[in-house]
Amino acid sequence: MNRQGRPTAPGLQAQGANESFNTHTGHRGLEHEEPVIFEQGAEGRCGVDLPDPGAFEDCLGGLNRHNEIGLPGLSEPQVIRHFVRLSRKNYAIDLGIYPLGSCTMKHNPRLNEVIARLPGFANVHPLQPVSTVQGALEVIDMVAHWLRALTGMPGIAMSPKAGAHGELCGLMAIRAALEDRGDARQKVLVPESAHGTNPATAALCGYRVEAIPANVRGRVDLGILRERLDETVAAVMVTNPNTCGLFEDEVIEIAEATHAAGAFFYCDGANFNAIVGRVRPGDLGVDAMHINLHKTFSTPHGGGGPGAGPVVFAKELAPYAALPHVNAVDGDYTLIEHQAPAAEESKSFGRLTAFHGQMGMFVRTLTYMLSHGADGLCKVAEDAVLGANYLLARLKDVMPPSFDGPCMHEALFDDRFLIGTDVTTLDFSKALIDEGFHPMTMYFPLVVHGALLIEPTETESRDSLDEFVVALRGLVADAQSGNTARFAGAPYLSPRRRLDETAAARAPVLRWSPPATPEAAE
């Protein structure tokens, strides 16, 4: 309680107090309402000072821009204030635990940001003569070396721009290899617990997708997989550890069965954080795997990218990897950007992106790798797994886990603990926002009802985990004791309350438009 006797703890009473009066400005204390930037401009104002080019005869062939663009004019202080105010409406890993399962929201070291901004990395052009970018090529080669060593796989493609792009790279290499041996196959088997990108990618490669159900232990049903594996199957795509947070304990049998059918074994490496330094996917029989550098190797998610998704390959697939490649001979680096006409050793399926991949992410990744070393990366995996199992242990009496046994780096629960309450997984997760947390992944994976998937990562302290447990246990108690008013329509204490997604999709408004004027209405 504060001196005025009003409650200071978050909850419905505080919400009531908030709603009891309206401010004159619409702001609420430090929570500022911020109009769209297009509503703030003034003609003749500008946030940059540029010299006057003077009069000159242009060479635009008469195709000059005639109409107004419609951009608002703002000064630098206004622009800064606008974006700082907006930033404060976001949750972020720097504010607290970000327990999104299968997203690996770990701390982003600031050294990485400093290094990525060195002009020798940030201000280098991809098409400079190769003799002037030897350090950049060395960085790519070093990251490639670490990734090959950590996965035990000899081939690599560095250019994919994100995880899904890496999947595309992996599957295209597989299809190119199959076609090279004259083996047209039509389908890809994907467990039903897979990320949506897996089937979407397989479809983009022209494959039919067939779902493999999970067994009662939350793993790929090996018996069904074996039944489905035949000469029409090009690849099996498995996430390991899987999205139930479990290690596929029959992974070697899965690989053997896949290979026996003449198919390739693709692994989605989204959950590599659980095993980095402790298990090498190459030892499991994996033929291709993408690695999300923005997950395991800490490059920031940036509100939705940029990411990076290099792909490691087994020997048989390595020649088919996407261009370009970096070659190193005695410390001299060259860049193979084009298919040599008659090169037997390279059968690349082609180019997946302009230029050479996410250099900015490679620099951050290498900084992270050198900081941790082989020993630190091993600890990363162990602490990630320890943290998830600790949460599981502290919660299992009130939130029964979906599957028995230890989990890997994420813990999966379903909504059984909410049966008999009128609280849904969605309400429960949104109530976490009022407690100061970002919700966990919900309703994914699809193999359990009302899934709640929690991934704490290794960069959470024990205190942070304990605080999260207090919030979850408290919410479970609220839900089960009938104290459910706070759940319906939660959150109450966020910059916005629940948003009308149905209306947004029914008549999409994807851009700002000036308010209609009387003249325009004529």
């Binding site: 946030g47 606008h82 020798g120 721009k161 070697i252 180019r351 230029f355 949104k430």
Partner: protein, 449 residues
């Protein structure tokens, strides 16, 4: 280890709470035969000081654009980025947030995306834009896939003026699908008969302006021809800054406009990350790939934003999604948005004029150099020169003189012997008169030797 908060004491007590003796017990599901019993053969951990030292040594092995007279373009451009941009994108709340799946606590990212989408639509002269693609080349490939969905046709006509990387990425993306891709040969003068290649099976025509060689293309006749045949016109640009000076492709009748947005807010970064811009007609918005941010209201009736039309996307539609894209280029889009906000109407028009003027000045200085011919009649901030001799050797020779003098066409089209004497040369607002003189001198020397 500075990034790991757990102490050995924490680890011991947490294991006890879990009820196991050691961390190995938590890896019990890993088959014993594949458990590593020692460390992988890689260096051990290091402190900030040591890592910084090692990384600085690597950075020092590169010649950065600010340390030499610089004229390299061909799809990535050196521009001045206002200091405010990098400051703002390093705000924790932007930098370390995830994709805005929980809109109640992601309004910052979402409103920025909404503003970005609006800016892209205005700049390209179209009605709607998405929340970003990986880069211009993948945006181009996705545009072709979208055109095939919209028209239910398969064949694609590609201009010879399309950046070869974009052409290759599109070719790769279509590699395992049905349909024919007809690429025209590169035409340094920008003249080709694309309309003549359109028929009743054509899904789309892909054309770039300014094109690979810098020529500015009038898309209006081609748009009319495509429309008459029921095909879509996809307009591509590799230099978004040109849109500040040129008639926007949407206004010229393009149905889908895609390109590289790196020039606004984003550094060269050796070619990645970049920013794919993607815009189209409202009519086709449900066929767009990627994330879309839309305006709505919250439970209290206040304006707010959400990711919308997600039933097009992989996490809902799985194998029937419009694209497999998930993580895209959010922070690069934010940098674009902030830079555009700083420039505004006047700033954007002026910086575009400064770029164009710099290229005109440069052409004026290179034309008199013996053994050098400026080919373009039209251009924005990049044009093509023909040199006496092999362009790759001349560019290498200039690099030896400390001048980063452009991109030899052979770097992009090694199989085109007829282009082996051509160099793409770019100038921007960063280029000084002195640097132009240095290029003219280095070029003259390289051609003469």
């Amino acid at each position: 280890m500075r990034y790991l908060p757990l102490t050995d004491g924490d680890r011991t007590s947490m294991l006890a709470e879990i009820g196991v003796d050691s961390i190995d017990d938590l890896y019990a599901d890993v088959p014993p035969s594949v458990r590593l019993d020692g460390l992988i053969d890689l260096p051990l951990h290091q402190g900030e000081l040591e890592v910084e030292r090692a990384m600085k040594q690597l950075a020092a092995k590169n010649l950065e654009a600010g340390a030499a007279p610089f004229f390299v373009g061909a799809g990535a451009y050196r521009h001045h980025i206002p200091a405010a941009v990098d400051h703002l994108i390093q705000r924790s709340e932007f930098l370390t947030a995830y994709t805005p799946y929980q809109p109640e606590i992601s309004q910052g990212t979402l409103q920025c995306l909404f503003e970005y989408q609006t800016q892209v639509a205005l700049l390209t002269g179209t009605e709607v834009a998405n929340a970003s693609m990986y880069d211009g080349s993948t945006a181009c490939a996705e545009a072709v896939l979208m055109a095939r969905r919209v028209t239910r046709r398969k064949n694609v006509v590609v201009s010879g003026g399309l950046h070869p990387h974009y052409r290759e990425v599109t070719k790769t993306t279509l590699r395992f699908t049905e349909g024919k891709l007809t690429p025209c040969p590169p035409a340094p003068d920008g003249v080709e008969d694309l309309a003549g290649l359109i028929d009743g099976e054509t899904a789309c025509v892909v054309v770039q302006t300014p094109d690979l060689f810098g020529n500015i293309r009038d898309l209006q006749p081609l748009a009319a021809a495509a429309q008459a045949a029921g095909a879509l016109l996809i307009a591509v640009f590799t230099e978004a800054m040109s849109l500040g000076a040129l008639m926007p492709p949407g206004e010229m009748g393009a149905d889908i406009v895609v390109g590289e947005g790196q020039s606004f807010g984003n550094g060269l970064n050796f070619g990645g990350p970049n920013l794919g811009l993607f815009a189209t007609r409202q009519l086709y918005q449900r066929q767009m790939p990627g994330r879309l941010c839309g305006e709505t209201v919250d439970a209290d009736g206040r304006r707010g934003y959400v990711l919308t039309l997600s039933t097009r996307e992989q996490h809902i539609r799985r194998e029937k999604a419009t694209s497999n894209i998930c993580t895209n280029a959010g922070l690069c889009a934010l940098a674009f948005c902030i830079h555009m906000a700083l420039l505004g109407e006047d700033g954007l028009k002026r910086i575009a004029q400064l770029n164009h003027k710099a290229a005109i000045d440069l052409a004026g200085k290179l034309q008199p150099v013996p053994g050098v011919e400026v080919l373009n009649k039209t251009y924005f901030n990049e044009f093509t020169i023909r040199v006496d001799g092999r362009a790759d050797r001349i560019v290498e020779s200039m690099a030896g003189q400390g001048v980063l003098g452009g991109v030899p066409l052979s770097r992009l089209c090694p199989d085109r012997e007829e282009l082996a004497d051509l160099i793409l040369v770019a100038a921007t607002e960063c280029t000084t008169d002195l640097e132009m003189d240095q290029l003219a001198a280095a070029l003259g020397k390289a051609v003469a030797s």
